[in-house]
Subunit: 318 residues, 2 copies
C-alpha cells in the first residue's frame, strides 16, 4: 500500500474521484494547508505543489504530481532525487491563462489602461488612435495548450498568427505560420503583438535581451504570462521608457511579489497583474487539475507511464 499525500484544497467529490483512481491506497489530505515535513517524508506519492525544502530528504517519494504547469522550483539541481517522476498540470490552465493574456492584449491595444488611469483622476481625455487585432500579426512564443488557445482567440478576431515552438511539427489549426525557437529573433520585426508563454528554465532565463526589444516594432505590444525570469525587469523598463515598444502586459515578474519600490509599477505603458492568470481563479482550472491527477493515479497503479512528465532540462513536458 502506498502513502498518497494530497495537498490540494479538495472537496469530498474530488476525494471520491482520486480514491476511485487508486483503490486500496492510503490517502492523506492536508485540505489545502501546507504539509508538515513528516507528511512529506512519509509519502510515496505527492499530489500538489509542496515546499521544495524537504523534498531532497524524501527517500520514499517516487512521484510528485504538481498542481502547476510551471515546474521551475522543482527542476533545480538537488531539489528532487534523480529518477523521481515529476509531472505537471499542463492543460489545466489553458483557458484561464490564455483568456487573461488575451484580455491584457485587448486592454493595451485599445488603451484602456490609460483610460482607467485618467478615470481615477476624473479626466475626460482622448488618447487617440488604437489598433485592431484584425490588422495585427500576433507572434505566440510557446505553443502548448495556453499558447495555442491564445493563438485561436486572436485568430478569431482576425489576427494573422505566427507560432514558435521548440520542436518542428505540423502547423496546428489557428496558426498561420509555424517556426522553431531558433527563428524567433528574426521574426520579431514582423510582430504587432508578441505573447510569450515560456516556462522558467536555464534556457529561457533572461532570453528577451535588449537586442530582442530593439528588433521589435516601436508599436509592438509584449505580453508575458509564462515566467518572470524570462525577461530581465531592467531590460523591460528600458524598452518601455525608451520607446522600443509601445506597451507591455506582464502577469509574472522577477522576483514575485514585485517589490514595492520597483520602478516597473509606475510605468504608464506597462500593465502588471500579480501572477493571477492561472491559480484557481477560474473554478474550472481546479477541476481539471483533479482530473489530471486522478487520470495519472489510474495509469500509475495500472503500471503505465503517467502523463505530463516534466523534462528536468527544459521545464516542459516531454
Amino acid at each position: 500500500m502506498e502513502n498518497i499525500l494530497v495537498v490540494l484544497p479538495v472537496e469530498q467529490r474530488h476525494r471520491d474521484k482520486l480514491e476511485a483512481a487508486a483503490p486500496g491506497q492510503r490517502f492523506v489530505y492536508t485540505c489545502g494547508a501546507e504539509p508538515t515535513r513528516e507528511q512529506i517524508l512519509a509519502a510515496d506519492i505527492i499530489i500538489g505543489n509542496v515546499p521544495a525544502g524537504p523534498l531532497a530528504a524524501a527517500d520514499r517519494l517516487k512521484w510528485l504530481q504538481l498542481n502547476s504547469a510551471g515546474a521551475d522550483a522543482y527542476i533545480k539541481p538537488g531539489v528532487l532525487r534523480p529518477g523521481l517522476i515529476l509531472t505537471n498540470a499542463s492543460g489545466a490552465y489553458g483557458k484561464a491563462v490564455s483568456e487573461h493574456a488575451f484580455a491584457m492584449t485587448l486592454m493595451l491595444t485599445k488603451k484602456l489602461h490609460l483610460y482607467r488611469d485618467a478615470q481615477r483622476q476624473s479626466r475626460w481625455t482622448d488618447y487617440g488612435t488604437v489598433s485592431s487585432l484584425s490588422d495585427a500579426i500576433v507572434l505566440v512564443v510557446g505553443l502548448g495548450d495556453i499558447g495555442l488557445r491564445y493563438a485561436r482567440l486572436t485568430k478569431a478576431m482576425g489576427a494573422y498568427v505566427i507560432g514558435v515552438k521548440r520542436r518542428a511539427g505540423a502547423c496546428p489549426e489557428g496558426v498561420d505560420e509555424l517556426y522553431t525557437t531558433d527563428a524567433l529573433f528574426d521574426l520579431l520585426p514582423r510582430a504587432d503583438v508578441i505573447m510569450s508563454i515560456l516556462p522558467g528554465s536555464a534556457g529561457t532565463y533572461h532570453m528577451y535581451t535588449a537586442a530582442y526589444f530593439d528588433r521589435m516594432k516601436e508599436s509592438a505590444v509584449f505580453i508575458n504570462c509564462g515566467r518572470g525570469g524570462v525577461v530581465d525587469g531592467a531590460v523591460l523598463y528600458e524598452a518601455l521608457t525608451r520607446g522600443k515598444i509601445a506597451a507591455a502586459g506582464i502577469d509574472v515578474t522577477e522576483p514575485e511579489p514585485l517589490p514595492a519600490d520597483s520602478p516597473l509599477w509606475q510605468l504608464d505603458n506597462l500593465l502588471i497583474t500579480p501572477h493571477v492568470s492561472g491559480f484557481y481563479h477560474l473554478p474550472e482550472t481546479f477541476e481539471r487539475i483533479v482530473d489530471i491527477a486522478a487520470e495519472n493515479l489510474a495509469i500509475y497503479f495500472a503500471g503505465g507511464t503517467v502523463k505530463n512528465i516534466v523534462d528536468f532540462e527544459t521545464g516542459y513536458r516531454h
Copy 2:
C-alpha cells in the same frame, strides 16, 4: 450644379473618391475645420456632422450625410427642415465600437481594472476568482452592425448569445436566441453580460431604470457603448454601489464630457472611457465613412434612394 460641403478631414485620395461619385458638382472642403454659417447656408448637400444651430435656416439643404452612427443631435424637433434627407454612417463603426466594448467586457470580467488600480499603488494584491465568457450568457441589446459584431466576438470565446432588436426576424449567425425589445426586461435575469448599443432617442431615454438593474444578476457586467442618456447616471451609481450588479463599463455618459465632480469617476467597479470607441480611432473607420458617403453620392445623383436614411422617430436607420 449642387454645392456639396464636405467637413470631413479628407486627404486627396478621399476627395478623388467623392468627386468621382458626383462628377460636375461643386465641392467645398473645410478639411476637418468647423464650417462657417455661410458655408452651411450655401450647401445643397453636407457630408459630415456640422453644428446643429444653423441647420434650421439652411433653406437650400436637401441632404445631410452624417459621419456618425448616432443622429440624436439632428433628429430633435426644429433642427432639420421636414422632408430633408438625413443619413448616417451606420456600418462604419462596427469594428471599432464592437472591439472596444469587447475589450471592456474582458477587462471587467478578468478584473484588470482592479489590478490596474492596485498597480498604480505598487500593490501586489490578488482579487480572487474571475469568470470566463465561455461560461457566460451574453445579452446584446441592439443588433445592428456593432451589436452583431460584438455578439460574434463573444460567441467566438464560447459565450451563449441572446440578441434583442426592434423588429422580429431570422436569428442571425452568431446569435443563439433572438427576441424583440419588449422581451428585454424578462431576459435580464439570465444574462451574465448585458451589452447595450442603443441610439439616443425619446424612446431609449433613461430606459434602464432601477427596476432593470434590480432584475440583473448581482454578478452581471453591464456595458453601454450606445448613448449616455439611455441610463440615468444616478441609477447606474446606485446599481453599482448597492451591489445590484458586479461591474459596468461605459463609453458614453450624460452629459459629455462627464463633469469632473461626478461621483461615477470614483467607482472601483465602473470603467469609464470618454466616448472614444468610435470616432476615427481605428483608421479603417474613416475609410468606411468616405466609402459610405461616396456610394450615397453616386446613388443620389443617379436619382436613387440613398442608404442609411435615419428615422426621425427612433434615431435608427429605416
